[in-house]
Structures are given as C-alpha cells and as structure tokens.
Symmetry: C2
Subunit: 326 residues, 2 copies
C-alpha cells in the first residue's frame, strides 16, 4: 500500500500547482474581483512559481445573464488579455467549462488565438460522453485539457471505473479527483487516488486533486494524494473557495521543496488583498456547518445558507440535514 | 508500512478521547474561564462520551503567583470538587504537571482523596529522570499516568529511543507523541508513531497523540496516528489552544464511530460558549504566522506576539524567524 512517490525533502518534477482562487473563490463573491486584485494575483503567481492560474469559468451568456455576474464567470478573451497581454511568462492560463453550461464551440477559440493554455472540463458522472465531446473539441483547438469528475464521493465504484476508462481512451491530459463535498478522509483519498493512478499508468495520463476544507483536511488530502503520485495540485490563496474553501496555497507552497516556488510572494498578496476581502465581509473557510455537510457527504449549499442567516443552532441544522440528505 | 489498525466504519475499543480545552486553551486566556463555562464543559463532555477531561495544570504556587493566573493554572482539589463533586460519572478527570514547575509531592494527593483520575507529566527530553520520579510518585498514589514528551520535533532519534526505553521500563501507562510546534506532516507522524508503538508493544504501554494546528494538520495527524494504533487522542473544543490551537473535538467526534460519542453535545457547547469567547476577543487558531513557525519547527511565541501586535508583514516576520531560529 504505502509505496509513496518521492520524499519530503526532494523535488518531484512532475508536480504542477494550479491556482483556482478566482474560479472557486469567485463562487464566494460572485466573481466580483477588482482588476487590481486580478492583476496583482497574476503577478504574485508568476513570482511564486505557480504553474497555472485559473481565471474563471467559460459560462454561456445565453444561460447566465452577464449583468448578474462578475466578468470572470465568462472569462472573455479580451478580459484575460487586459490582465496578461500576450502572457510572455512561465505561468500558464486555464479556464473551467462546465458540461452543459458553456457554448464551447464558439466561446473557446483556437489556442493560437487565445491567451488560454488549458481547458478544464467539469463534469458529473452522468455526463461523461458530453465531457469527452468538449475535451476533444478543446484538444483539436490545441489546448491542454483536464476532466474534473465532480462529487466523486457520491459515485459508486463500478460507474467510476467505467468513466475513468472512457476518459483514459480520450485525448484528455489530466483526470482530476474532485472532493466537492469535502467528505473524504486521507485514508479514503489514498485508495481513491490509487484507483485513478492505475488508469493514469494504463493510458499515460496525469492525475490531479481538487480538495475542499469542510473537515480541515483539504491540505492533508492534497499532500496525501501527492504522495501517492498525483501531480496536478489545486489550491487557492487563503483557501478562498465555495463554502469551507480549498487547500491553502500558502500551506502547499511551504510543503513543496522545488526552489522555484516562493511562498512569500503569495503571503505578500494575502497581506495586500485577502485581509481586505475578509474585512469587507466576504466569508469562506472551515466552520461547523461545513463539517456537518462534509461528514454527511452532501452539497454545502445548505451550510452556506445557514451561515448567511447567521444561525448558530448547529444541532437543529444537523437534524435538518439528516431529514434532507440521507 | 500501511498496516492500519481498525477501519473507518468500525469501533476501536482501545480509543480514549481526552478533552484539553481548559488546559491548552487556558494558555490562550490565562485560565480565566468562568465557573459556568467549566461546569457546562464538564456536562457537555459527559454527554458527549468524552473519556477524560483535563481541568488544567498543577503548577507550583511558589513559582507562579496565584494572583496572576486563573485558578486552573493550579487546579486545586477544592476547585475541581466545586465543579464535579464526587464525579459519579464515566468521565475521568486529569490534570497536567510540568516537570520542575510543580510541588507534586504535596499538591498531588492520594487518589482516594482526590477527584482526579489521571496525572499527565509534561517533560522535555532532557528531564526524563525527573519525569519518571513524578510518574512513580503518582503511580504510588494510585493514579493513571501519562508521560508527554514535548517538542519531539526537536529531538534526535537516538535520544528519543533512549527516553522511550526509560519510560517503557517505568510504571507509566501512556506515552504521548506531542507535536508542540505543529511541524509534522502526516507522513512523518506515521513514522514517529510507529516508533512509539514499537515501545508500547514491548512494554505493554498505550500511546497518545497531542497535535497542534499550525499547518491545519492537527486533525489529520491525529487520525493518522489513530490509524497506526495510537489510542489516547487529545482534542479541544473548537481547537482552542495555544497559538494555532489543537485538534478540533468536533471533527474528532464526527470521525469516531463508537455510538457513545455525541458530537452534538459539543456543538451545543460551542454555540453557548465558544462563539462568545471569540466575540470577546480571545484569539486562537490557524493563521499564516503559525504556519511559518510550524514549517521552521520553532516555538509559536513569536507568532503569538506578531498577532497580538496586529502585524501583517508576513515576509518580514519570516526573515526575523530565519535570523532567530535557524
């Protein structure tokens, strides 16, 4: 079992750090980041040696009203360009496209005409064929691609194996383990990653991890996955992300031993921008309601609502969850 | 390597949960807990099925001025009795005594005259003989005993092996792994626990874990230790403890599968008391300065000071740490 890859003191050259602050964090503040925030985050990521920065979603403007969301819900080419220009840096740019919620054939340009390097397709287990259609479109346009199977803690093993095999046979570069509900313990993450990694070996893919912090295990699960052989690691500055948030970029860069990673660049960004966000009342991060949705393997939306209403009757909330999710 | 004890769905009968909220949390607020807080915590622990509740330290009044600390720095028999009476419950009572800072021969009564069930002796690696003297005194008086070797992340392997062997030959019941600086990753915790567990097997002892949350790994490290075979698990309500605090009791009780544990009893206590403490300005828990002292394996005191001064210049703080601790 414990055939860990690499060690705690050396560098794993296959590691790629993906900053999802604007994409998962955008779910917290409706993508209302100032241009200064975005520009400074871009510069911080370059300085920090982060490998990919995800700017947001490629959502369909027919489905979502652009007046009701910040611009990073749509991540138009011109908006990305206004921050990165031609992006003559080592930092690659990614966006996420949800199956069924994007006009990918139109809104995703050919890579040679775009500042974007990688398209990440988010799918549930029941839309794998639609996911693969999007992945093949993106690959044909020249992009690196990832398939992010969300809510995998709700998926049964048999279906997961079929989905992984289908993705294995596709052109996708990276398949992601996504613990949407923050419900996995490291021991479970270990077993799950091994399953994905077996597919990776068979089909020559990479595996990624996207964790949530409902049980304060996002970082622990990320480094557990890493030690099994997972190499694409999602993190966000100060863990900013929906509900309990994600793996903290600060912690992850402290952990990684590659000297190219510079944790202080991220901490300087925290000092300048993240403390202000918190002061302005933007709320994310571990709290008891997220622990409860996490252990019940359920969507954090009810916990987000509980906190928004400033309720503190945890016991009653737990009873409500038991009625509604089990 | 991965010979985990027990499983994620069954009960490990050897597990003992130890609530250290007043003892480690007392280091945050100088032991200034109201009697109502203490009484309610006692009742919550009984209802929650917690196995031990640590009331505080048995500090010497010759060394520490009682006027300058709350009463749980000293945990006088009469003060414990005022809360627990004869404690006709399944919840056992523990106190901690620091080597060199306690008048143990006088202040620790015979167990038959005390409400206390367990004496926990906190020691550094260089005072193991003094620790054993205290342990033997407590054992002779009829107590259960533990030896807590603090700051073990600073101890070299050879010395640790000698210390563990000395403790193995003593009458102590439980030997604790104490990650005082919150510097261990789960993979390191696994290896360290295995070392302690080898001693436990040889000398018929139990092993305990006391983790700190500098890297948001206190809970992860605790369940990793548990899965190796460690059975005495320290936690505090809402992780209240010095600096970054400890393993959250809420998370731990959610994890454990023994139906005697009742997480909601603890959450009700959080609702009534812990939210108020936070509002009153009592500060503990994960923050960047603790992450930095954690990764540098150094005492959190400088981080506590940094936060007290409301500084946010993390980079400068890191440079100061590099000058002072490495």
């Amino acid at each position: 079992m414990s055939n860990r890859q690499g060690s705690l003191v050396s560098v794993r050259q296959d590691v790629r750090v993906v900053d999802c602050t604007m994409r998962d964090g955008g779910l917290v503040n409706n993508f209302a980041f100032t241009d200064e925030f975005v520009k400074d985050l871009y510069l911080a990521n370059i300085k920090a040696g982060v490998d990919y920065m995800e700017f947001g979603y490629k959502a369909s403007k027919e489905i979502f009203d652009p007046k009701k969301f910040g611009k990073w819900k749509f991540s138009d080419e011109k908006d990305i360009r206004s921050i990165v220009g031609d992006n003559k840096t080592d930092l690659k740019i990614s966006v996420m496209a949800d199956v069924g919620r994007t006009d990918f054939r139109q809104s995703i340009l050919n890579r040679k005409d775009s500042a974007i390097d990688m398209i990440r397709v988010a799918t549930y287990i029941n839309t794998i064929p639609a996911c693969i259609e999007m992945l093949e479109d993106a690959k044909k346009k020249g992009y690196e691609t990832t398939a992010n199977i969300m809510a995998v803690s709700k998926v049964n093993d048999g279906e997961l194996e079929i989905a992984l095999d289908m993705l294995g046979q596709s052109s996708v570069d990276v398949i992601y383990v996504v613990d949407s509900f923050g419900s996995f313990y490291p021991e479970q993450m270990e077993r799950l990653c091994d399953k994905y990694l077996n597919v990776a070996v068979k089909y020559n893919k990479k595996i990624g991890i996207h964790a949530h912090n409902n049980q304060q295990l996002a970082f622990a699960n990320t480094i557990e996955a890493l030690s099994r052989g997972v190499s694409y690691l999602d993190a966000t500055v100060s863990g900013m992300g929906r509900g309990a948030g994600n793996c903290y970029m600060e912690s992850l860069l402290c952990f990684l031993k590659n000297p190219k990673y510079n944790k202080l660049a991220v901490m300087n960004f925290v000092e300048k921008h993240m403390l202000k966000l918190r002061e302005e009342g933007v709320v994310w991060g571990y709290d008891i309601p997220y622990l409860l949705t996490g252990i019940l393997n359920s969507h954090p939306s009810s916990a987000i609502q509980f906190i928004k209403e400033k309720r503190t009757d945890y016991s009653m909330f737990y009873q409500e969850l038991m009625d509604n999710v089990l």
